[in-house]
């Protein structure tokens, strides 16, 4: 192995500035430009109460925000949603982002894409496309997404992506009902021409929490999934990179969430709220500032919601005196809120949390119960799948 000539970025502050603050310059932003989406995935990370189209930021708002992002030192913008191509001004936004030097990524379900739209995005300077898949074959994939014919359209969009010489990442969200198809999903991603595959196990908050009974895998299933990924990584070295996120219910320690709350990343909601992560609106009682009222520079430094869980000073025990607190920042605030009722608690995914054993046992019993019926994500608070449990 050659020595590594490029390390992943750590906390980076402004040139010449001391690292005195518990956060740096933001590296990347997730721009959720709309919550509208033709799909209805039962694990969608959008909040249960979604933003109607009438509340969305205008084109002019977004173009100003994109300029502010570049001034603030943001390097990458991920256009996401909902389904970002549902907005007609997406090409305009990508153009502006390219102009001001941002690295642009499109995170899409690909169902509403046309070849012309994709080609216009490529001309506007789009750097990368990420297409989500729900399974390895139409029957399951279309059932999970709640959209007939969706899977076939994704494969078609992937073909256009590669024809236009745009690089492709395939994103596969895994859960009990599609884990068995992982080997075929990996082969399919290679055939789609992906240079990267993200295998992400569902994170349980928002819609996924509502659907946990139908989604939670067993520890044995997760182990099998890990073995599949490891074998594929060895086999596909140099052909396709595989990023893998395990469900942390079954881990000893939680994931470091978003690189730390408000540390190097933020999210902008369709109505302009600045959030430390895409799921933060599931936490009630936090006041999020909007780009409609304040500049991004002000918000990044002063937003009470961003400052609430920055660094380590807010931590209770067992995190406060734990040797790993700088490594995982106490895990995920959204998961802590969802499972303990307070975002200021240790993430129960951690084995040191007093609630860990209970959470783990609950997860296991849900994984064994035979509930398969989904509650589909939609603007009216969810619709239960028809048919037997």
């Amino acid at each position: 192995m050659p020595e590594d000539h490029a390390a992943d970025i750590q906390l980076v502050t402004r040139a010449g500035e001391e690292q005195a603050r518990p956060y740096g310059l933001p590296l990347a932003v997730l721009a959720e430009i709309t919550h509208r989406c033709p799909l209805q995935c039962p694990y969608c990370s959008n909040p249960l109460a979604m933003e109607p189209a009438a509340n969305e930021l205008s084109t002019a708002d977004w173009l100003r925000v994109i300029d502010e992002l570049a001034d603030l030192g943001v390097l990458q913008i991920h256009f996401s949603g909902g389904e970002p191509t549902a907005r007609r001004d997406l090409v305009q936004m990508v153009s502006r982002a390219t102009e001001v030097g941002l690295y642009t990524n499109l995170i899409t379900s690909a169902v509403g894409l046309t070849r012309d739209k994709l080609s216009a995005l490529a001309d506007a300077g789009l750097c990368h496309v990420q297409i989500s898949v729900q399974g390895a074959e139409p029957a399951l994939a279309d059932r999970v997404g709640g959209y007939k014919g969706g899977h076939a359209r994704k494969l078609e969009a992937a073909r256009w992506t590669r024809e236009l010489d745009l690089p492709l990442t395939v994103n596969a969200v895994m859960h009990r009902q599609n884990l068995l198809q992982l080997p075929q999903i990996i082969d399919m991603a290679v055939e789609m021409g992906a240079s990267r595959l993200e295998v992400a196990n569902v994170q349980y908050y928002g819609w996924a929490l509502k659907n946990r009974r139908a989604l939670m895998p067993s520890p044995a299933q997760v182990e099998a999934c890990t073995a599949t990924v490891e074998a594929a990584r060895a086999r596909l070295h140099g052909v396709m990179e595989i990023d893998y996120v395990i469900p942390d219910y079954y881990a000893e320690r939680p994931k470091q969430c978003m690189g730390g709350w408000g540390r190097q990343f933020f999210n902008i909601s369709p109505s302009g709220k600045v959030l430390p992560c895409h799921a933060a609106e599931t936490i009630t009682g936090l006041d999020f500032d909007s780009v409609r009222d304040r500049t991004l520079a002000w918000i990044w430094d002063n937003s009470p919601a961003l400052n609430a869980y920055r660094g380590t000073a807010w931590m209770p025990e067992p995190c406060r005196s734990c040797e790993w607190k700088e490594a995982d920042f106490g895990g995920c605030r959204c998961q802590a809120f969802a499972l303990t009722g307070s975002a200021g608690n240790t993430d129960p995914a951690c084995a040191r949390s007093p609630l860990h054993a209970r959470v783990f046992a609950l997860a296991e019993s849900e994984a064994e119960a035979d509930h398969t019926r989904f509650i589909y994500r939609n603007l009216s608070g969810g619709t239960e799948e028809a048919g037997p449990a």
Binding site: H5, A6, D8, V12, L75, Q76, Y103, C127, H128, T169
Partner: protein, 99 residues
């Protein structure tokens, strides 16, 4: 198929890999999907010469002159560095037509 980097390969940064000097942080960065990499000085020296026209040998010869170092050592280092990037999907290569 796994791309192989050799002395006569012509490397090129694909669309999803951007080498950029970032003014706010005053450092060179490599932007790739979902990640930001901080290249060391050697990587910057090599990558800033990658233009889709010059071969790895051309680049090493240029570096050997600039840094007054033996060309075979630099060539071996450059091949290893570029192969590593290619394996991660961050570099495209074509074979040079034989002169």
């Amino acid at each position: 198929m796994r791309p192989t980097v050799a002395a006569d390969s012509v490397p090129r940064l694909p669309r999803h890999v951007k080498l950029r000097h970032d003014k706010a942080r005053d450092r060179w960065l490599i932007l790739v999907p979902e990640r930001v990499l901080v290249p060391d000085d050697t990587a910057v020296a090599v990558l800033s010469r990658v233009d889709g026209a010059r071969s790895v040998r051309d680049i090493a010869t240029d570096l050997a002159q600039t840094y007054q170092a033996p060309v075979d050592v630099i060539l071996a280092d450059s091949v290893a560095l570029l192969q590593d990037l290619a394996d991660k999907g961050f570099l495209a290569v074509t074979e040079a037509p034989h002169a």
